[in-house]
């Protein structure tokens, strides 16, 4: 198990966002988090690498254990945690720099500046993100000149470059067209041989296509967590069934 979530609660100020969440996320597989808007699925995934630290008034209780360590413990180095748990966001957010500088940034801030090492990591990361062939002749071009789908794969390459163990995807395709979406989905399925993948998605077909396990959130609660096929064919909870059959949400 990569993550063990125990009695986990979260609040934005006084407003509860997650209520008593308990489940385990397995290693080297794809776990999808689905649910209607405002159900807490994005809040949850951002707790896994403590991105919510940036939100004023945000607080949590309970535990999230990553490889046995409580990630909310005070003496944990959060920059080290984020290096090991990469993240790809909803909207592609490349830095306004070259493709090369985007991918190598994660290593540069660790103090790695040897050109040979950087070149190798940039190439390997772009290959793993299925972008190398499209950009290998223009690594010094601005990342902002790429298309939306290419930018998102660049963001994936950037996350891969720091050699994380987990990659979190927060609705990675919601700003992309169907062809770019298909490419990202193929990529996610290929990445699970190296990484633990957690993906938040609005799109139930996407969850069904790419994931091994699925968790359904509603109103801050984890309603059901099971093998993806089970969730989409024979959910045990009435609310899950109503949601996946499109009766609400």
């Amino acid at each position: 198990m990569a993550f063990k979530v125990k009695d986990f609660n979260a609040w934005y100020g006084e407003k509860p966002a997650l209520k008593n969440v308990n489940f385990e996320i397995p290693e080297k597989s794809v776990t999808a988090i689905i649910g209607p808007s405002g159900c807490g699925k994005s809040t949850f995934i951002r707790c896994l690498n403590r991105m919510n630290d940036l939100v004023p008034m945000f607080r949590v209780s309970g535990e999230i254990l990553y490889n046995g360590t409580n990630i909310n413990s005070n003496n944990l180095d959060v920059t080290e945690l984020r290096r090991r748990i990469g993240m790809v966001f909803q909207k592609p957010n490349p830095f306004p720099k070259s493709i090369y500088d985007n991918v190598s940034y994660g290593l540069r801030i660790q103090g790695i500046s040897k050109r040979g090492i950087l070149d190798k990591v940039v190439e390997e990361s772009l290959k793993k993100a299925a972008l190398w062939d499209e950009v290998k002749d223009r690594l010094n071009a601005s990342a902002l000149a790429l298309s939306g789908g290419q930018q998102q794969r660049l963001c994936i390459a950037r996350a891969i470059a720091t050699e994380p163990e987990v990659i979190l995807f927060d609705e990675p395709c919601s700003a992309l067209d169907p062809i770019a979406t298909a490419k990202i989905e193929d990529l996610i399925m290929a990445l699970k041989q190296y990484y633990t993948v957690v993906i938040v998605t609005h799109n139930m077909q996407q969850a069904a296509r790419v994931s091994d396990d699925t968790g359904f959130f509603m109103m801050g609660e984890l309603i059901e967590f099971d093998i993806t096929r089970q969730i989409f064919t024979a959910p045990s909870n009435k609310m899950t069934e109503d949601y996946i059959t499109g009766r609400f949400g």
Partner: protein
């Protein structure tokens, strides 16, 4: 006239009135520039830039004034830019919302609107008298630095705020610290905006007269501040910081107040030089903003 034709008439007449108002401003500026060019263009020449002021208008020049202006501008920039950027980064990136930061923010916004002569009095009391720096380059530059500091802070904050949060998120998610995120992502992305603000602040400082007269800058200077570099050991000298000085606007002010007709031409020529400097600085600022606003789209 019925209502419809009346509102149509208003519609077109407001266009004419608005256009005329714009023209009045432009026309006055054009007349002013033409008048000055007519009076002063004849005096512009090598001799004008390489001569000290003189009792004879045809022999007078702006050597001590333009070198003084360069001195003051360089020192003002060295003082105001680092201070202003650091203050803005602190307020924008580190400052938590509290009554104290609110108070600081209101104060900075107000300081940008304080009349410049007040800064002159501050400089006189603080730098010239209390710190005994006399009427020197460093006193003048420090006074102007305080004067433009609010402008640098406000425009830098504006530029930092324009950087989307998603860029910071991307950096943090890769394991960057706050300082690394600011140093490697936020400030470089905001640099065009910061530069624009700095140049506009400096172009304000270059024309300031009142605060420098208040601290007692000389109006008749027939020598230069000690050169910062020399051929003899130790090659670098900071003595110039503590020497008296004059600047272009003060030299112009001095010539305008002289009764002889010839000094009018000198003043006009000085104004042309000053105008060209300000126009150039503003043009660079506009160019930077234009160049980078096209290049970066979020």
């Amino acid at each position: 006239m019925n209502r419809k034709t009346l509102s149509k008439w208003f519609d077109s007449s407001f266009y004419v009135i608005g256009f005329a108002s714009t023209l009045i401003g432009l026309a006055i500026l054009a007349v002013l520039i033409l008048d000055i060019l007519f009076d002063g263009a004849g005096r512009l020449g090598w001799q004008f830039f390489t001569s000290y002021p003189s009792r004879r208008p045809e022999a007078a020049g702006i050597l001590s004034a333009w070198i003084g202006t360069v001195w003051i501008m360089v020192i003002t920039a060295l003082l105001a830019i680092p201070l202003g950027i650091m203050a803005a980064v602190h307020l924008e990136e580190y400052g938590r919302k509290s009554w104290l930061t609110n108070l600081i923010e209101i104060n900075i916004a107000n300081l940008a609107g304080v009349p410049s002569i007040i800064y002159g009095l501050l400089g006189l009391g603080l730098f010239v008298r209390a710190m005994s720096l006399e009427r020197s380059v460093i006193s003048g530059a420090a006074t102007l630095a305080i004067l433009v500091l609010p402008i640098v802070i406000l425009s830098t904050r504006e530029a930092l705020r324009a950087i989307p949060f998603s860029i910071r998120e991307a950096s943090y998610a890769l394991g960057a610290t706050k300082w690394q995120t600011i140093r490697h992502q936020v400030i470089p992305a905001a640099l065009p905006g910061i530069m624009t603000g700095i140049i506009l602040a400096m172009s304000r400082a270059v024309g300031e007269t009142a605060p420098l007269i208040t601290i007692g800058a000389l109006t008749y200077v027939a020598f230069l501040p000690t050169s910062p570099v020399s051929a003899e050991f130790p090659f670098i000298s900071f003595q110039g910081l503590f020497d008296p000085f004059t600047v272009l606007p003060i030299q112009i002010f001095n010539w305008v107040s002289r009764p002889q007709k010839g000094f009018f031409a000198d003043a006009a020529a000085g104004i042309i030089v000053l105008l060209i400097i300000t126009f150039l600085m503003n043009a660079i600022a506009v160019w930077i903003r234009h160049k980078y606003s096209k290049k970066i789209r979020w």
